[in-house]
């Protein structure tokens, strides 16, 4: 599986995503600069990593969304290519319209970093097929603006179409319907606030994130 990690100014989990992917695929990940207009050829998976792109100034992900590389990412998604947005990456995806809704300031108003229990709601996707339906996993969250918001109609659609992928067991940020991660209509774009790339190596405290990457590797290789 060939993967690319986008680097926006002040992305800071780009290396983490790359190391996780490299340790599991054995391939080098392409680091793609936000000002590039094209992705490398034959990319299977595009990752928008966590971080504080543009300092989270104005709104999280708002300015990163205006980057030149976004056109190529949208094209990749339109063709059915897999796109994974983690934390700040999820914020960029909602700003771009590739995913519905918006991520707002945590209801508790403070940045929160801790391991959280998530229920895997949907295994019918290229991202979650190696999990068991309803399985509880633990990923760390680390964000100040992870409060997922969408209007009632959108939320009902997400639920009805099986597009809520991960749900918080103890909501850390006030997200509507405890939503931690969602899929787009075509089921090839996943955005989630928790960090699966941080639970791939047992030394870091857990390996629940592996199955997400294995699902992708199996499907896309």
């Amino acid at each position: 599986m060939k993967s690319a990690v986008i680097v926006f100014p002040a992305s800071n989990c780009d290396r983490d995503a790359a190391t996780a992917l490299e340790s599991l695929t054995g391939n080098r990940t392409h680091m793609v600069w936000h000002q590039d207009s094209e992705l490398p050829s034959d990319i299977d998976l595009v990752v928008l990593p966590g971080g504080f792109s543009y300092g989270d100034y104005l709104r999280c992900g708002a300015m990163a969304n205006q980057s030149r590389i976004m056109g190529a990412i949208k094209a990749h998604a339109a063709k059915g290519g897999a796109v994974l947005g983690i934390c700040n990456g999820f914020q960029v995806l909602t700003e771009s319209g590739l995913l519905p809704g918006a991520l707002m300031r945590n209801a508790g108003l403070k940045f929160v970093c801790k391991p959280v229990a998530l229920k895997v709601e949907e295994t019918q996707s290229v991202f979650t097929r190696k999990y068991d339906q309803g399985q509880t996993v633990t990923f760390p969250v680390a964000h100040g603006e992870g409060n997922y918001y969408a209007d009632g109609e959108t939320l009902d659609r997400l639920e009805g179409e099986g597009r809520v992928m991960f749900r918080y067991q103890n909501n850390p940020n006030g997200s509507a319907r405890n939503i931690a991660g969602i899929l787009n209509e075509k089921r090839n774009v996943l955005g989630l606030m928790p960090h699966p790339e941080r639970v791939v190596d047992p030394l870091n405290g857990g390996t629940d994130g592996r199955a997400l990457f294995h699902s992708l590797i199996e499907t896309l290789s």
Binding site: P9, C13, R15, F52, K114, N204, G205
Partner: protein, 734 residues
Amino acid sequence: MTEITPALITEHGLSLEEYDRIKGLLGRDANLVELGVFSVMWSEHCSYKSTRAHLRKLPTKAPWVLQGPGENAGVIDIGDGDAAIFKMESHNHPSFIEPYQGAATGVGGIMRDVFTMGARPIAMMNALRFGEPSHPKTRHLVSGVVSGIGGYGNCMGVPTVGGEVNFHKSYNGNILVNAMCVGLARTDKIFLSAAKGAGNPVVYVGSKTGRDGIHGATMASAEFDDASEEKRPTVQVGDPFTEKLLLEACLELMATDAIIAIQDMGAAGLTSSSAEMGDKGGSGIELDLDKVPQREENMTAYEMLLSESQERMLAVLKPGREAEAETIFRKWELDFAVIGITTDTNRLVIKHKGAVVADMPITALSDAAPVYERPFVERAPAQGKPAYDKAKPVLASLEKILGAPDMASRRWIWEQYDNSVMNDTVQHPGGDAAVVRVHNTQKALAITTDVSPRYCRADPFNGGAQAVAEAYRNLTAVGATPLAVTDNLNFGNPQKPQIMWEIVAGIDGIGAACRALDFPVISGNCSLYNETNGEGILPTPAIGGVGLLKDVTKMATVAFKRDGDVVILLGETRGHLSQSIYLREIEGKEEGAAPVVDLAAEKKHGDFVRKLIEAGRVDTVHDVSDGGVAVAVAEMALAGSIGASIGQAGLPDAIAFWFGEDQGRYLIAAPFAVAEKILVEARDAGIIVAELGKTGGDALVIDDSARIAVSKLRAAHEDWFPRFMAGEEIPLTN
């Protein structure tokens, strides 16, 4: 030409004698710009004039030390061509005035000190001291400082992995915010600040210069009084977004060989960085302020030289490499300007609007800065054993202590810090030391910050030694070999002889411990004049320790892991209660003698424990410090969610046994067969050991009689901080 009057001189924080000295060095009167430059370069914060004579006595060398004090940060060799670079620095006065930005810019400043040497920052820690919880400003300060540290560190993507927090009324008017940064570099790619050679371009990179923080260095060197509120405009605002870009751009440039020297612009900005680079390199520097990227209009030379605008670096490049460097900085959307050149005159010459506005010999600014041997009055260490009620029930007191402000869980704080970004955190906040893997290797660094200010007031020498000993124990307890120390010395007014005594004795105590433990000081910072309306803080020489785990899989944590493990107490317990947490929290007394540190025993016990961990024989270790054995056992039970059944060993006085703060002790929990061997080996080595009991169950049971559920201890431990902060102000940031 502005006349240099005595009033102007004192306004600049200089004494009339100091000005006479300056006049002598210049061979004439200074002009206003030059007066400003000297005022910051000769401030306590920049020149260390009150402490240099004593800091020289500290041990700074070891075979693994590549760079001791004198550079932006210290450097140690951690094997395989890897180096760890670290330092701790204070931002006390600005944090009291504007807690969010004061703390944030403190974080930014110490990170720059580390990455200017070529190291990618991999971990942050902080040592915080606040006033008593009942003081009206405390909540606001805690909230602001924690938000500021998180706001800056999280955006930089560097994990904040631990620290310490104390509350005490002596900090009511002067909080302490000490930030520590650890970075990784390759030993053959360390960047120093000596600007050797003439004719090399001096380049400015980062943010534009504004009027921020002018005289920040002089503010750091002064006490507060009731007029300090008006100093608000001098607090700088940090931009971690720009600093992250600056970090990446600098590391990119450092991968080439274009840089001769590089220095970050911190306190006293352009002035101190250019003067220090010239001084170390034995060269002169000529700057043209017209070339400095400016954020405001009509900035004067004085303002530009003294500005403490953040996120700026000064570098000396090899001739001809300017364009290459500029490409990198423009890619990262940062300002870049060639603003000067190195010369062979050994003078700092400043030009503005076509004229020379300042011309000073560089040695006058740094080397010739005064070194004071301030008078001190020796004070005998506090003596005595205060009386206490020996019949108070142990477990009830334990519960109360676990919920005391200095002992309660700091989860409220560290869950606001990203502690796992960069994917190398192996031990998160809450243990004896943080452990961060050296990326792509089997090695890891252990990091801790420690000091017990109450001991330092009672006995400055022993207090200084104890701080180092506790850092040594904390690193050892996770399995690391302690390698080096960075010290952040926070004291009151050094012009008071009794305070100067605290400084001198404290430094001596630190030195003695560092020598005995092979644990040299490689960097540090002094913050003096921490007094308000004449009331000073407890002497607080914070020690930041770094150690190395050669194999990260051979590591210990504090959590009990199995039922039926034997709990061993290693080290002698005489029941030292004076100056203890118990005495303060339960009896309301802050009296008596501080515990004495037996440095030979610390080394012996530490080496013994570390070998057990390195051999993979034990995985559960905790050092014994604040609150004594009872608190240490409770902490192990809470971390592992496993109880224990333990009994007094060797002392008739229950309270003295369970809460005494004798030094040099560790708790180890191991399966029976392993434990039995350890007991024999320890006794053979002449180390006092006692079997306390066994792990298991869901309660802490003492002497088979008193019992408290682990869940009850957890409630006491976790409740205090969030309840206390619930009256907080909303952090109105971003």
